[in-house]
């Protein structure tokens, strides 16, 4: 149960590792903010922050210092406890859920084996869904605790939106779980190793020029999951929580300074969870296409000599690969925000309940029927048709 390690060395390393993952997450937020501002400027043909430091990178530090110097302000109408508790609570669900996502192959140092993730959880997906569903409280606490009607309306809209899209999100994952047959994220990643191969109906086909990624099995689920993740993290085109025209700024109308920044960390944290899960479910996680971790390990062993160095090299390379995929999805998040307009609230709800939920349901049914019939039935074609099919398959499976 308390699998934080067996020796005191392991426990210490694991504790430091969890803290490091958390701090890494907090650190990533200013970089993302910078990327978002520069990216939006690029898209809108402006400069963006470019004065402080090279490429404006030090702007983040200047912002943080400025936030610290803002005076602490609580409106008279506000409920002081909830007003202060909401930003602190905003940090918790996002960071803990992110820690369950594996980021690299386990690092083996002598006898000890360290996972490059906060903690390994064998019901990973359920854990992440459960923890991140607690984020609705942050919004409600902030909205009601501010004592302002704009905040309350913003909170109601945001939480109704979050819970509506949680349905589509949760249902789209059912197909993924069915494909891999596990809740464990690490097992899912190892299942995506090697070349794409379909087996069923009495046939086995290997397409060696494509990696065995989940996106080829569950394309509809990937689209629904990604779209619902936008709504879950309150990003454009679904950022109805903060429609300026009708709601001023949504549930954080009354917040400013550092407390506002903490809401930001939470929001970007949800974005990171979505990007990390997208990578893990559909794009092979930390795996490098065409190469197995063993190959990387052998390469390290041949070039560095010692086993420890090879293990460290292995983990580092896969960590890099994970971060490349991860950053790609974060960039898509930012790009979409600055290129798409906002939905209207009724359109948003219609999309969630009447479009995405039925599609996710259809995906589940089709997946289960395919898996079921692939195991029970085998199709046999007349020899002539089979020859033609083989020719077509040969075209796809050429190396």
């Amino acid at each position: 149960m308390t699998s934080m390690g067996t020796s005191s060395f392991e426990i210490t390393v694991n504790i430091i590792k969890t803290l490091a993952v958390f701090l890494m997450m907090v650190q990533a937020v200013p970089i993302l903010v910078w990327l978002e501002r520069r990216g939006s400027a690029f898209i809108q043909n402006r400069f963006g922050p470019n004065r402080v430091g090279p490429l404006g990178l030090v702007q983040l530090l200047a912002d943080a210092v400025k936030f610290l110097h803002k005076e602490d302000f609580v409106p008279d109408k506000a409920n002081r406890f909830l007003f202060y508790a909401a930003p602190v609570f905003a940090l918790i669900p996002a960071s803990i859920a992110y820690m369950a996502i594996p980021m690299s192959t386990p690092l083996i140092l002598g006898e000890s084996r360290f996972l490059i993730q906060g903690f390994e959880i064998n019901v990973g997906i359920v854990f992440i869904l459960g923890i991140s569903s607690l984020a609705a409280y942050t919004i409600l606490m902030a909205g009601w605790g501010s004592g302002s009607k704009f905040s309350l309306m913003g909170a109601m809209r945001a939480s109704a939106q979050i819970i509506s899209y949680e349905l589509a999100l949760g249902l789209s994952i059912v197909g993924v779980i069915m494909t891999y047959g596990t809740f464990n994220l690490t097992d899912m990643i190892t299942a995506q190793m090697g070349a794409l191969n379909f087996s069923g109906f009495g046939y086995t086909t290997t397409i060696s020029w494509l990696p065995n990624w989940g996106i080829f099995y569950q394309p509809v689920a990937a689209v629904i999951f990604f779209a619902a993740a936008f709504a879950e993290s309150n990003r454009l085109p679904f950022d109805l929580a903060e429609g300026e025209a009708e709601l001023v700024a949504g549930f954080h109308t009354e917040y400013g300074g550092f407390k506002m920044l903490m809401f930001f960390i939470g929001e970007y944290g949800h974005m990171m969870i979505a990007a990390g899960l997208m990578t893990t479910f559909f794009f092979g996680g930390y795996l490098i296409p065409y190469i197995t971790p063993d190959d990387v390990y052998q390469f390290g062993l041949n070039n560095f000599g010692s086993e420890t160095a090879a293990h460290i090299f292995n983990s580092a390379v896969h960590f890099l690969m994970y971060n490349v995929k991860f950053a790609l999805f974060l960039w898509i998040f930012i790009h979409v925000r600055w290129t798409l307009p906002r939905f209207r609230y009724d359109q948003l709800m219609d999309l969630g309940w009447k479009t995405m939920l039925p599609w996710a349901l259809g995906n589940t049914i089709v997946t289960s029927i395919v898996i079921f019939s692939a195991a029970y039935f085998s199709i046999s074609f007349p020899p002539a048709v089979e020859d033609v099919l083989k020719q077509i398959f040969k075209y796809f499976t050429r190396t």
């Binding site: 308390t2 019901v123 359920v126 869904l129 459960g130 569903s133 607690l134 409280y137 409600l140 009601w144």
Partner: protein, 176 residues
Amino acid sequence: MSVDAILFWILTLVVLVSAMSVILMTNPIYSALCLAMTMVGVAAIFVTLNAYFLAGVQLIVYAGAVMVLFVMVLMLFDLKHELQSFSRGKFTGALKIGSVGILAGLIVGAVTIGKSLTEVKAVAENAVVVDTTKILSQNLFLKNIFGFEALGVLLLVIAVGTVALSRSKGGTHARD
């Protein structure tokens, strides 16, 4: 003390304190938030009992859905100004607390006496940590399939019922 024992006592403390706050807080919104905290604590207790999947379900269903609904309703109707949150009458109050105490004492006594009378099978003590999710799933879908389908129908009935209720005359969504 072993780590497991320390965890159990911490979780017990968290669960009992937040459950206590649920019934003692005069502001219903605080009560609801404390109850959400209790639910999270109960989920953690499920983890100590190796019921990982149930812990996740507890988080998703109770903490993430039911309590959000409670909090939303309380905030929608802003019941901050509650005049009388506890029942009146010192005598009846004492009687109620006394009866609750007697009930708790009876159960605790029964458990302790029962412990000395029967030997609980020490299966779980040395059993390896098994993935209970698959066993749960097999049991649910192979043995209790009728209950499962019945719950599906129940949920359908409830979904129809709530909408009909809110549509009825004087309901929240009445069509005037």
